[in-house]
Amino acid sequence: MEAVAEEKLTKSHEGKYLTFVLGSEEYGIEILKVREIIGIMDITSVPQTPDYMKGVINLRGKVIPVIDLRLKFAMTEQEHTQETCTIVVEVNDSLIGIIVDTVSEVVDVGVEEIEDTPQLGQGIDTDFITGLGKVKEKIIILLDIEQVMSTEELELVEELAK
């Protein structure tokens, strides 16, 4: 296990990222993990799930879960606007949708442009963040989407066990 953790630290996080906005911050997800971007669809809510688990949607015949990332990051929920999108990502061989305020663009983040994460305040567990990218004068919080999803699963199991 130790060898794996070390490998993670030294692995380069450069590459293309899809950037999106949540509140006043801009985040990025590795483009290779993004399957598609769709508008907001009818969500069927599933009972006995955490707040941020909004429910499931019908994606061309497949039923996939949808998460509100704002709630997951302990921000206040916002009404959906014209710009609100669902980013469908592929994590651990399954698809999951993430609701974000707006989707910005795809940026290329080079290795020199990545900085290690400083200790931020509460709200966001820094395990989710692989680094901060500085692109075009903006700071993009690079997310490790697999980490985000795996803790979500854990919390779900705990919640249901209550």
């Binding site: 009818d42 069927t44 019908n58 879960p65 066990a161």
Partner: protein, 717 residues
Amino acid sequence: MSKTNEEVQNSSPESDELTLDIKEDSEIFLEFLSEVHDHLEDSESNVLSIEDDACDYETINAIFRSIHSIKGSAGFLGLTEMQKLSHELEALLDKVRKDEITITQEIINISLSSIDVLRKLRDNLEIKVNIELGNVKESASSPKEQPIDIQPLIDTLVSILNKENKPEEIVPQASSDQSNTVDTELHNPESPQERTDKTNNSEQEEDFGVAGEDQESSEKDFLGEILLDEGTITQDQLDKALEESRKKIGEILIEEGVTTAEKVESALGEQKPVGQILTEKGEITETQLTGALKQQDRKVGEILVDSGTTTANDIDTALQSQQNQRRTKLQSRTVKVDTVKLDNLFDLVGELVITNTLICGEMKSANNNGTSKNLSQLTKITKDIQDQVMSMRMVTLKQTFQKMSRLVRDVSLRSGKKVKFHISGEDTELDKNVIEELADPLVHILRNSIDHGVEAEEDRVSKGKPAEGLVKLSAFHRGGNIVIEIQDDGKGLQKDKILQKAIDRGMVTSQSSLTDNQIYNLIFAPGLSTADKITNISGRGVGMDVVKKNIEKLRGNVEVTSEEGKGSTFTIKLPLTLAIIDGIVVNVGDTKYIIPTVSIEESLRPTKEDVSTVKNKGEVVNIRGSLLSLVRLHDLYKIDTKKTNPWESIVVVVESAEGKYGVLVDELLGQQQVVIKSLGDRFKNVKGISGSAILGDGRVGLILDVSGVREAFIGSN
């Protein structure tokens, strides 16, 4: 086979030196794993069929070819252990098919053991590949490679190979009842032609072309070639016989001296069949014509036997081989498709149907004639595609039943009883997911039948039963379901013993009167076993209730009937497909739920007076005198809805395994057949929701599991 770990050191899987890298050439490895699996399944079933009835050349050859393939591929990939073992087995099979070694029980046993070990080696490789490719993360609970020592098996094989051969013992024989059905197979598969056609002198394309092809590669379909290969006849004898069978009616008549060549010629000039013309002209008589026709109709085999060139026995053997070859040729017309692709296709087709329905709904108002005709055509085609795709997920029971053959053989050997095993209906098709879950319950029931049902040999003989026990496994369609029956002619269930055990365990009171059937079906209750001693095969009382649970998971049910002294019959009923469920769509607030029709008793709108609260029991609703618990779904699942008064909404009376109760919903929306979509692991702990389905409007509905809802309800109070 098991040795201590130290002795096993030198044969751990690491001693294989793979020639290719698993990650880089993953397709080759996955292909290999799949092929070896199939080869081993085929070989096993072939060995078992040799053990059961007769063995014939073609079956032995098939096993040889399978093992030969495994040896080749294993060698190519550097899997030395697999290659070594299959090499020795191949050598043994080679001698058997060349008749240098005769088939004995020992050889059959060693073949089966070798197949088992090859399987284990293959499984080890699979584990390794899965870990390398990251399909499985190595952890304490992940499957591990099992160290296997192949040396003892190799030693035994080598010793058999070096033994003296005794050719006078068992010689491959064709079973005798084949000879009746054989006649149709002798010629090429031509449709039954009318006799007049045959007497016509148009060329019959009987391609009895004899090609001197390599034994292993070609499809030997022609009886003559097979007999030639087996050395039973010579080329000359075959040619002569072929000539005879090809003879045209005219030639035969001339040879018989019945008529002359010129008369035949003139008859040929006309359009009618030669024989008919000649008869009309009075040149020959009816009887002469019939006689000549009989000669023409003679099949190669008959001619050879009549002329004393070969014996009926040899013909039978050759015919058996021809049949087997035909069968294997038919089987190879399939394509292997990844099940993921099938599932994806299935999902897309579902969407296609929904979109189609939506368009049709919209077009109704438009009333455009041309479009509506095209639309109905589109609907038809879409429905056809859906049916085809559904049928693609269906798989026959063949493989599952074959596994059972092997199991029955092993269990009966271990328990020291002689058991004959009959299979029927293995071509019955089931949804592939159902088949996977079916194997375990079948194993349990079969083990029970042999272990507890079938009596020991002396016992049976003293009762006047045949020494061999009979176990029958059959599958068939009945009333929209698949029925699988397991019947044994053993000692049957002992009603009194079961009842007594049930009373002892407090499951039933001694006063309650149960019908015989109800008593028999008590064996499915957890913890009940009337076995006096526990063997390691069964008797612990955990088998049958697990069987029942597993079958109910498949939305099927299992029952047993029995007659003391005569035997028992287990009947498993399964729906044709797991994927579709019939349900009533209801809504609660904004969310639509689907309640499976099988769980619903009735639905009604109660009056205010019918609903009351009982201390410690919560809300109840009075339905024709009985008080049922009322479960408010909006409350349980925290859904916003305006309809909170039962007398303004609908109460659906459902029946779960634990009893009836009423579910409060806003309204009933209709009945629908929906395709079940699993919600995935994420939601597997949500009590009361067993899955989801895509409704007619494209939205997702949640499927209620009435037992789970009850659990959730009780838990929340």
